[in-house]
């Protein structure tokens, strides 16, 4: 069977964003869509192929998928060093509106990986009417811990590459005292670092009304406590999928386990909502009126 069509699009907004739409074959009977929210820096690079595979897989299940680059990343315009999480949150919301308006998606979900998971979660809370469900793959739950992990990577790299001159304090100083901070080889501003540090998904209010799947990916058989707590907070389900953490790997990865587990959950959701005849949160027509670009 040939691959479903893919289309390069420009997502309108304050800064047009580069996106790829993975269309369903024929007309999607349920008009479901999923917006992919990418991880950050090296994790984005390593995860790219798996996310492409995931989008191609989900569109065969009648879910239109949109992958896009936040401003200043990938093929989207803008300066990486000027990026902030607030701007990327705006980008997610712009892409979500685009899916409703231009792609006629009636039931919309956000799929976020790592930092993209944290952003997807925040976007769903920012505009609850826009997002129907959430899929969070190994989301960054606590920004401080995420930055700490990055510092550790730097410590380990420095330790392995420069044994004699290795000085943990110096590595730490580069991370916390510079105005432009080296995040795994990507320059980010002190402001961006502060915004990442402020991420605390367990501190979100308990009011996202849509179904949520939280997936921990790794060697565990059961999700660790923070992932379970996040799922409980969001009224969703947490699962553990035994698979290599593909966002931290260079090399051949079999993406099937996490994709298939997610598809299973989506199929259950589709069946349950079809049964309940759930109506979309926003009528596409009304939304088109709301976000019609100024002329």
């Amino acid at each position: 069977m040939s691959q479903a069509p893919e289309e390069i699009v420009l997502i309108p907004g304050p800064m047009p964003l580069h996106g790829i739409v993975h269309h369903c074959r024929g007309i999607a009977p349920l008009a479901w869509g999923m917006l992919f929210c990418d991880p950050f820096a090296e994790e984005k690079k390593c995860a790219h192929r798996v996310l492409v595979e995931a989008a191609r897989y989900f569109c065969t299940a009648d879910i239109i998928c949109l992958r896009f680059d936040y401003r200043g990343t990938g093929d989207s315009p803008g300066d990486f060093a000027e990026a902030t999480l607030e701007l990327w949150l705006e980008d997610i919301l712009a892409a979500a509106r685009f899916m409703r308006q231009a792609l006629h998606v009636q039931t919309l979900g956000l799929l976020g990986l790592r930092l993209g998971g944290a952003l997807a979660c925040q976007a769903a809370f920012a505009e609850k009417e826009l997002v129907d469900f959430l899929v969070l793959w190994e989301p960054v739950i606590e920004g401080k811990q995420y930055l700490q992990q990055n510092l550790r990577r730097s410590l380990i790299k420095a330790m392995l590459t420069d044994e004699k001159k290795f000085n943990p304090e110096r590595v730490r100083a580069v991370h916390y005292e510079m105005e432009i901070y080296d995040f795994d080889g990507y320059p980010i501003t002190a402001e961006m670092r502060r915004q990442i540090e402020a991420i605390d998904l367990l501190g979100l209010p308990r009011n996202f009304p849509g179904p949520t799947l939280v997936v921990q990916i790794g060697p565990r058989q059961e999700p660790a406590k923070p992932y379970q707590e996040l799922a409980d907070l969001l009224g969703g389900r947490a699962i553990a999928v035994r698979q290599e953490p593909f966002w931290a790997r260079i090399g051949l990865i079999n993406p099937k386990p996490v994709i298939e587990e997610t598809e299973l959950w989506l199929a259950e959701l589709q069946a349950s909502w079809a049964k309940d005849r759930m109506q979309p949160k926003i009528e596409p027509k009304a939304l088109q009126e709301e976000i019609r670009p100024e002329t």
Partner: protein, 54 residues
């Protein structure tokens, strides 16, 4: 580390795994070439951290 062909990605995972499995928290100052140079050194380090944190 050379014996087992451990690179920075592997070592990062070892550190995360040690923290999860033994419920310890490594501080920046805990990172040293000597600590991670042999399996025996890692085991001794974990024992020491566990007794300190109990």
């Amino acid at each position: 580390m050379e014996t087992y062909n451990i690179d920075s990605v592997n070592l990062f995972e070892i550190v995360v795994g040690l923290e999860e499995e033994f419920e310890i928290t490594l501080q920046d100052a805990d990172f040293s070439v000597e600590t991670f140079s042999t399996v025996a050194n890692i085991a001794a380090f974990v024992e020491q951290k566990r007794s300190e944190e109990q």
